[in-house]
Subunit: 471 residues, 3 copies
C-alpha cells in the first residue's frame, strides 16, 4: 500500500488556529526572500564544473551523515550503504541496492528533520507524489536518476532555481581555491564565496599537522619556523581568502577554550608545537591562543569569526578504524563558554567593530551562558541551532531560551551548514516556519505587536544574516 | 466540602482541539493493548503466594518513596508514616492514622504524577468517586480496606484484571528465585520473569560486598577467589536467571563510567577489590570494567543490558542513620555518557546483536549525548524517562529532545519501574496518553501523517518493548 | 510612523481559547492581591526621604543593568548612557540625550522581559499610549519628566498606589539601617523591612574584606579577632536586622559549596582568613563553612536563609577596569547543588523549623537537583526564577521542570528582586499571568481541578510568600 506524499502549506506552524493564522501571515511575507547561506559545506567544484550528479544514492545517501548514522544505528552495515572502507575493501557499488536499503527503512526517520528535508526534495525538486517506502523505492530511483541526467538538475541550474543570493563554502588554508577562481572567472552570475577554516594548521591534533605547516609555509612564502612568520602566513592566506569572497573564518575546536599569553610565551609555545610531539596540554593551549590571535586578525581585516566547539570527533573506535573520520560518529559534549572564552573576551570582546559568532552542541548553554554573554559583549553574536539541533524542536528551544536575555538582534539568522545541496531550501524553509511560528506565539500572547513580528521575520530571514556576515 | 473525583477521558491530551482530536483517535487504538512491563520492582512473593495485602497504608503509602519523600519535605516525620527505624525504635503502627496523615496533605501532590497515579487507583480500582482529603480519609480507608480483604483484590486477580501480558521483577544474584519457581510451577497463567541485577557482587561499595562474594561462590560452586572463577559465577547465575525467564540485566551505578582493561590488569584489579579494603578509584574502575564484561556476556547469552546511572544514593545523612537506605533521599547528579561509555562502546557498541538500554536522571544528556549516541551505535537504545522524570512533562521533554536525533525506533517504549503494583496501569496510561499526544502534535504540525502516527503509537506501546527486551 | 501602546488584558496567557478562558478566571481572582516583595534591592532612602526622582534617565535607564547590558551589546558605549567611569572621566550628563539613545534602540528589547516591564510602566504609571521609538522619545521624556516632579510620583505615593503590603530591601552587615529607622519612626504606614546580606564580612574575596572585619568588630563591640567573637558579631547584627524588620538573610556566593568543619578547624580557618592573604581554597572553604554557621543561627533566631549562587561576577575585564563592578557583565555558571550542599544539609537539612530558599542561574538544576532536593529535605524551599530567568519563558520552564517532583508547596511564590522600583508591579504581573497560565494548562489537561487551581493561584501569589518568608 502506498501513501500520498504531501507538503502541507501549514507544516511546522503551531496548532492553535489564531497562532497559525498569524504565522501564515508572517511567513507569506518572507517565504520568497532569497536564500543567504553564510556557512556551509557544499563542494565548490559543483558550481565550478557544473557537472551532473551521478545517481540518487551518491547524491542523497552516501554523503549524508544524518542518513547513514541512523541506518547504522539500526543495524545496517556502512559497507552496504557504499561507504568506502579505509583499507579499500569491497563495499556496495550498486546505487539502486543502496537506495532500496534506505527506502525500506524510511520509517526510521519519522519525527526527524531528515524526513522533512528529504520529503521536500522529493516533492518540490523531483515532483514525486507518493511516500518513499520499499514499494516505491524503484519508482523513486528511476524518477530521480532520470532527472539528474538533465540540464535542469545541474548544480548551477538548481542554484538559480533555489533563489540563492549567496552561498559560502568552507576551505582549509592549504586549499588552492581553484574552483572559486573558476566560478569567478566563468562569467556565471551565481555568488559562491569561501570561508577560512584553518584547523589543519591550527590544531596540533589534526592529521598531518606538521606536514601541513610545511605546506603552509611553502604556499605563503612565510617562514613558519617562527611565531611571527606563522602569524604572517595566516594573514596572507586570510587576505587571499578574502579576495575569493570570504567574509568569515571558522574554527571547529573540541572546546571553547581560549588563551591570551604574552607574545614571548606564545612564541615559545608555537616553537614546541611546531617542532616536536605535542602534549595534550600544549595542543589545547595552542588552539586557545590561536583563537585569540584569529580574533585580533579579524579586528584588522574584518573577517567575521565563527567558533564551533564541543564535538567529540570519531567517537566510535571500530568505525574509525574501518572507515576513517567523519562517519556519523561525532558526539556532542558538555561545553563551557564562561571561563573558556574569558581570555579572548578580555582581549577583544568589547570591540564593537568585531563580530564573533558562537555555536553550541550543548543546549544547556543557551540560557545559562550564551545568551548572557551575547547580551553583553559587543563582539559576540549567537549562531543558529547547529547540527543535531538544526531541527524544529531545536530551533524552538533556541528561540525560547535565548531571546529573553539576548533579544533577536544578537542572533544572526539561519545557517544551513550542509553539504547536502539539494535540501538547502528545505532547511531554510524549516527555519522560516519555526521562526515565524515563534513570532506568532509572541504576537498572540501580546508580547510583541504584529507589525514588529513582520519586521523581525524579515530580520531573522535576511537582514541579520547579511549584516552579521557582512555579505 | 468534598469534591468529586473524576478521571477525565481527555486527561493529559494537548489542549488544542484539533490536536486533541487526533490524540483521541490514536489513543483509542492502543489504550487496550496488554501491559508489557519489562523492568520493575514488584515483589514476586505477591504472585507466588497470592495473599491479600494487609491494609491501605501498608500497600499505598509506607512503601511509596514518592509519597513519603513529599510528606517528609513538608515536615511529616517518617516515624509518623510507619517507616521502620534502623534501631527498631517505635514508629506509628496504626494504618488508619498513617492514612489520615497522608489524606489531609493530599493537596501537596497537586501537579505531581503521584496524584495522577493515586487518583487512577482510587477511581478505577476501588471505585471511589470523591476526592481524597481530610474529610474523606476514613471513607477511603474503609472502602479500600474492605476491598483488599476480598478475592478480587489479591495479586493474581489484579494482574489478570490489569491485562498484564508479562512483568519483570528485579533480583540480586544471591536471590534463590524461589518465588519465581513457585509461580512457574503453580500452573497459573500469569507471566512473571526475573532480571539479573548483580550490584551486590559487582559494586565494591555495596553493603556486605565481601560477604556477598563468598555467598556468590558458594551458590555457584565457582572459585570466586580468581577473576576467571568470578566471571564464571556470573555466567552461571545469568543462565539460572534466564531459565527463570530473565531476558535482561540491570546495573545501578553511581556513574556511567566504563573500562576495558587488558584481562591481566582486570584480574589484578579483581584480586584487589575481592580481598581487601577497596579504594574509591578501584571501586569505580571495577564497576566500569564489569559493565564491559557484562556487555560481553550479553553478546554471548543474549540478555539485554540496562544501565541506570547517576543517582547519589542516601544523600541525607540524618535519614540514613535513623532509617537506613532507600528512604526517598536519593538525588540525581550530573552524568556524563560520552567519555564514560567509550571503552564499553569501543569494545561492543558496534555489535547489532547486542542491546544496551541507557537511562538517565540528567535530562541535559537527552539531546546532547544520549540521542546522538543511540542514533549511531547499533547496540544502544534509550530507555524511557526514569524515576523523577516518569511524569507527563518529563515524558514530553524526552520525546521532544530525543526524537529528532534518535528517531522513535531507537527507543524502547515504557517502563513502569515500580514496586507500587496497584498503580501500574495508571503509569502505562500516562505514558500512552503523553506519547499519543506528542504524536498528535507531529500530525497536526504535518511532520508525520496520521497513518504513521497510528503505527508509531502501537510501536511505542507494545512492539518496541517486546522487541527491545526480547520478550 | 508611531504605533499605539497597548497592554492587552490577555497578555502572556496561553493561546488556546479554552486554556485562556481558565487562565482569565484564575487571574481575575488574584490580580488585585497585594504585592508582597520579600526579596529585592530597592533603596530604603527613597522611602525614608521620599524625594522626587530626578529625571527619566536616572530613574529608568542608568541604574537598570538589563537595559544597559543590551544597549552595550549592540555597540552603545556605557559612557553614552551616563554610567560613571571609575577614573571619574567624562560621561554623558544630559538625561534627554541618554533617553533618546535608549528610545531609538527600543526595538532591541523585543521579546525580552525588559520590554514588558517598561511598557507596563509607560502605560500604567505614566499613561502613555504610543510606543516608545526615536520619534516618540521626546514626548516620552517630557511626559515622564513632568510626572516625576509631582507629589503623586514620589516613592511613598507610588508604594501606596502599587498596593505593596511589604517590601524587603537588602543591606550589608555594616549598614547602619538609618533609613529603615527613619521609615519606622516617620509614622508612615508603608512596611519596608531589611534583609541581612553578610557577604562583605563573609566572603574573603569581597573588596575590603579585612577592613570590613575591623568595622564589623567596632560596630558590634565583639572581638572579631576570634572565631567565637566573629560568630557573636553576626548574631548581634542579625538581631539588630531582625529588629528592623528583617525576616531573612541572603548569600550571594560564586558556588553553592558548603562545609561543616569541626569547630577547632573552623576557628583555625577563620584565623587564617582574618589575618593574612587568603588562598582561593581557604576563601571557598570559609564561605562554605559560614553558610552552615548561618543556617545554624537561623535555627536559633528564625531568619529565613536565601542562597543565590552561581554568578561569575564582573566577567568583562575591560568594563571592570573602566567602570567597576555590577555593570551588566555578570554571567551565570554551571552550578552543582547535590554535593555542594550536602555538608549543610547533613547538619540542618532535616530540621522542619528551618527554611532555606535556594535560587539558581543554572536551569539544568531544576529537574535534576533542586526539585529532588526540595522534594525531600524539610528545610529546603525553591526560590522563583532568578535574574536572567525572571521572564515568561523562564517562569514556564521553572514550573514545568520543578512541579512534578517538588510540587507547588515547596516553592515560595515570586520575588521581584529588583532595584527598578517603578516596574515592581509589572514584574509581579508577569509572574501572576504565567503562573495562572500554567495552572490553566493543568486544568485543561485534567491534571488538577479548577477549584484547586484557584487555591494554588492564591498560594503562589500570596500565601506561600508570606509563609515561607515569615512575613
Amino acid at each position: 500500500m502506498t501513501h500520498p506524499l504531501r507538503l502541507h502549506p501549514d507544516r511546522l506552524f503551531p496548532a492553535d488556529p489564531d497562532t497559525r493564522a498569524v504565522a501564515r501571515r508572517l511567513h507569506a511575507e518572507i517565504k520568497d526572500l532569497p536564500i543567504v547561506s553564510p556557512h556551509g559545506h557544499t563542494d565548490p567544484s559543483w558550481f565550478a564544473l557544473n557537472q551532473n550528479w551521478k545517481n540518487p544514492a551518491e547524491l542523497l545517501i552516501t554523503p549524508d551523515h544524518y542518513v547513514f548514522r541512523m541506518l547504522y544505528s539500526q543495524g545496517v552495515a556502512l559497507e552496504d550503504l557504499g561507504v568506502p572502507r579505509a583499507d579499500g575493501g569491497p563495499v556496495e557499488t550498486d546505487p539502486r541496492a543502496i537506495w532500496r536499503r534506505f527506502a525500506e527503512r524510511y520509517h526510521l526517520f519519522r519525527g526527524t528533520p531528515s524526513r522533512m528535508w528529504h520529503d521536500w526534495v522529493y516533492a518540490e525538486v523531483f515532483g514525486l507524489d507518493v511516500r518513499l517506502s520499499a514499494e516505491t523505492a524503484d519508482h523513486y530511483y528511476d524518477v530521480i536518476d532520470a532527472a539528474l541526467k538533465t540540464e535542469a538538475f545541474r548544480p548551477r541550474a538548481l542554484f538559480e532555481r533555489y533563489g540563492i543570493e549567496v552561498i559560502a563554502t568552507t576551505e582549509g588554508p592549504l586549499d588552492d581555491l581553484a574552483h572559486h577562481r573558476t566560478i569567478r572567472d566563468s562569467g556565471w552570475s551565481g555568488k559562491v564565496v569561501t570561508a577560512y577554516r584553518p584547523d589543519p594548521v591550527m590544531d596540533p591534533d589534526f592529521e598531518g599537522f606538521h606536514d601541513n605547516l610545511v605546506r603552509f609555509g611553502a604556499l605563503t612564502g612565510e617562514d613558519v619556523g617562527s611565531w611571527q612568520g606563522y602569524l604572517a602566513a595566516h594573514r596572507t592566506r586570510r587576505a587571499v581568502f578574502a579576495a575569493h569572497g570570504a567574509t568569515s573564518t571558522d574554527h571547529g575546536h573540541p572546546t571553547a577554550f581560549t588563551a591570551d599569553l604574552p607574545q614571548d610565551q606564545a612564541a615559545a609555545l608555537y616553537e614546541r608545537v611546531a617542532t616536536g610531539p605535542v602534549s595534550a596540554t600544549d595542543a589545547e593551549l595552542f588552539r586557545g591562543q590561536m583563537l585569540t590571535e584569529m580574533a585580533r586578525m579579524s579586528l584588522d581585516d574584518g573577517l567575521v569569526m565563527q567558533i564551533h566547539p564541543g564535538s567529540f570527533r570519531n567517537h566510535n573506535g571500530t568505525v574509525f578504524t574501518r572507515f576513517g573520520r567523519d562517519k556519523g560518529a561525532d558526539i556532542p559534549t558538555r561545553t563551557d563558554y564562561v571561563s573558556a572564552l574569558k581570555p579572548l573576551l578580555d582581549a577583544v570582546g568589547s570591540e564593537p567593530g568585531l563580530t564573533i559568532i558562537l555555536f553550541t552542541l550543548d543546549e544547556t548553554a543557551y540560557s545559562r551562558e550564551l545568551a548572557p554573554l551575547a547580551g553583553h559583549y559587543p563582539a559576540l553574536r549567537l549562531g543558529p541551532p547547529w547540527w543535531f539541533h538544526d531541527s524544529p524542536e531545536g530551533m524552538r528551544r533556541f528561540r525560547e531560551q535565548v531571546t529573553e536575555t539576548a533579544g533577536f538582534y544578537n542572533t544572526v539568522g539561519f545557517n544551513d551548514d550542509t553539504r547536502a545541496f539539494l535540501s538547502i531550501p528545505a532547511r531554510h524553509d524549516v527555519a522560516r516556519r519555526i521562526d515565524t511560528g515563534f513570532l506568532a506565539r509572541l504576537v498572540v500572547e501580546h508580547r510583541i505587536e504584529e507589525d514588529e513580528a513582520h519586521e523581525l521575520a524579515r530580520a531573522l530571514t535576511y537582514d541579520l544574516v547579511k549584516a552579521a556576515y557582512r555579505l
